[in-house]
């Protein structure tokens, strides 16, 4: 299914008045929800880089049902980098040190993107693949849970 088909599908669903449509084909799954409030589009894209567990690429929710087509303009192949443990998320190695990554930066596999401190153990988290940082999902020095999404990365 290409972007144009997805756009048409979203238009169709938003006009139809149903709350949710889920389509699953081989290697492809899309769910469109139209509550009165926002519209969510979730798509699992098979060409995303291999993770240990397949990571769903979550397109950001569009602000309102009135503009469902905007969702489809976002890159749909974003991959989330998740926290491998409970701990505290740090974007640099110290208060006066530069950030490991900023939004828009390109990272290579093996680049450190953040530190997670857990009980005095300091974990440098490396990117698993090359890509561009689209969004940082957690504030510096915030607690994070196991499997909590930390970054949205667009593979390149």
């Amino acid at each position: 299914m290409d972007i144009k088909q997805i756009q048409e599908l979203i238009k169709f669903v938003s006009k139809s008045g149903v709350n949710e449509v889920a389509i699953e084909q081989e290697n492809f799954k899309i769910t469109i929800k139209t509550n009165q409030a926002p519209t969510y589009v979730q798509a699992t894209v098979p060409q995303a880089p291999a993770y240990h567990a397949p990571a769903p690429a979550t397109a950001p929710a569009s602000p309102a049902a009135a503009a469902p087509a905007a969702t489809a303009e976002e890159p749909t192949n974003l991959v989330t980098l998740k926290s491998p443990m409970i701990g505290t998320f740090y974007r640099s190695s110290g208060p006066d040190k530069p950030l490991f990554v900023n939004v828009g930066d390109e990272v290579k596999a093996g680049d450190v993107v953040c530190i997670i401190e857990a009980m005095k153990l300091f974990n440098e988290i490396e990117a698993e693949f090359s890509g561009r940082v689209v969004k940082v999902l957690v504030d510096n020095a915030s607690p994070v849970e196991y499997d909590q999404p930390l970054f949205l990365i667009e593979p390149i």
Binding site: Y51, H52, A53, P84, M85, I86, S93, G94, P95, A109, G110, E117, A118, M119, K120, L121, F122, N123, E124, I125, E126, A127, E128, Y146
Partner: protein, 258 residues
């Protein structure tokens, strides 16, 4: 200078000894980012560290040549990074065992990973890991132990050393060799799945276990008398306070000395 005179299987087989370095942990990490992979068990030893660290900002002071400051490389790929506190327990237990042999039963582990004798601090460790996805690629274990230094700044009220306790100096090379062999022994036990034995031993050796002492809750400033009963697999400290169990994470509780 490199040597491999130790008798263990791998921990301490490759020792790189340096005169002065900012931090042996940093040195090891920089070496890892170069092309040639370092074997598991590699030890970086320094006579003096200019920026040896306790936690991210705490620096640790050591008179050159008097103490043991080294970093050890392990590759604990067999442990899920979410379960990493078990490695902290494993190394703590190994160090405690060495000190118990040298100093006797007052050797203890202060939660989460300080090395104690009675209520005096002998040293500590700083574990820095490199994680990719769900794979634990490297653990860099920095260890600092007060050995032959006998005078400490006033700010380190409860610092002590092996020489202060024994009233005689202890050979640093012998001590390093003993530590490497004990870490290796406990690490191999961890690798073969003996996590419960490690946790049991860690608990038994906890500083203040089963003794009532004063503590302060960091957030509220409230002080209370509690008794340490356990440390969970996640590293949470459990105290009994008037019959109720209370759980504390790091930086949530302070040990008070009255």
């Amino acid at each position: 200078m490199q040597n491999n005179t130790f008798s263990g299987l791998f921990v301490g087989q490759n020792i790189i000894s340096l005169k002065t370095i900012d931090s042996t942990n940093n040195y090891l990490r920089d070496e890892l980012s170069k092309s040639a992979p370092l074997p598991e068990g590699t030890v970086i030893m320094a006579e003096a560290q200019t920026a040896g660290r306790g936690q991210l900002t705490n620096t640790w002071h050591s008179e050159p040549g008097k103490n043991l400051t080294f970093s050890l490389l392990l590759r604990p790929g067999f442990i899920n990074p979410a379960d990493q506190f078990i490695l902290n327990k494993c190394i703590s237990v190994a160090l405690n065992e060495v000190l118990q042999r040298i100093l006797g039963n007052k050797a203890a582990i202060k939660w989460p990973n300080d090395i104690y004798f009675g209520s005096g601090k002998l040293g500590g460790m700083l574990i820095e890991n490199i994680i990719r996805g769900s794979q634990w690629k490297y653990a860099i274990i920095g260890i600092g132990l007060n050995v032959n230094q006998e005078a400490f700044p006033d700010s380190l009220r409860n610092a002590t050393s092996i020489a202060k306790i024994l009233q005689s100096n202890y050979d640093l090379t012998i001590l390093l060799s003993e530590i490497c062999s004990h870490i290796e022994g406990w690490y191999l036990r961890l690798k073969s799945g003996h996590r419960e034995e490690i946790s049991r031993r860690y608990r038994e050796k906890l500083y203040r276990l089963n003794e009532p002492h004063r503590y302060r809750v960091m957030k509220t400033g409230e002080e209370f008398t509690g008794t340490i009963t356990n440390v969970t697999d996640e590293g949470i400290l459990q105290l009994d306070h008037e019959g109720a169990q209370k759980d504390y994470s790091l930086k949530e509780i302070e040990f008070l000395n009255v």
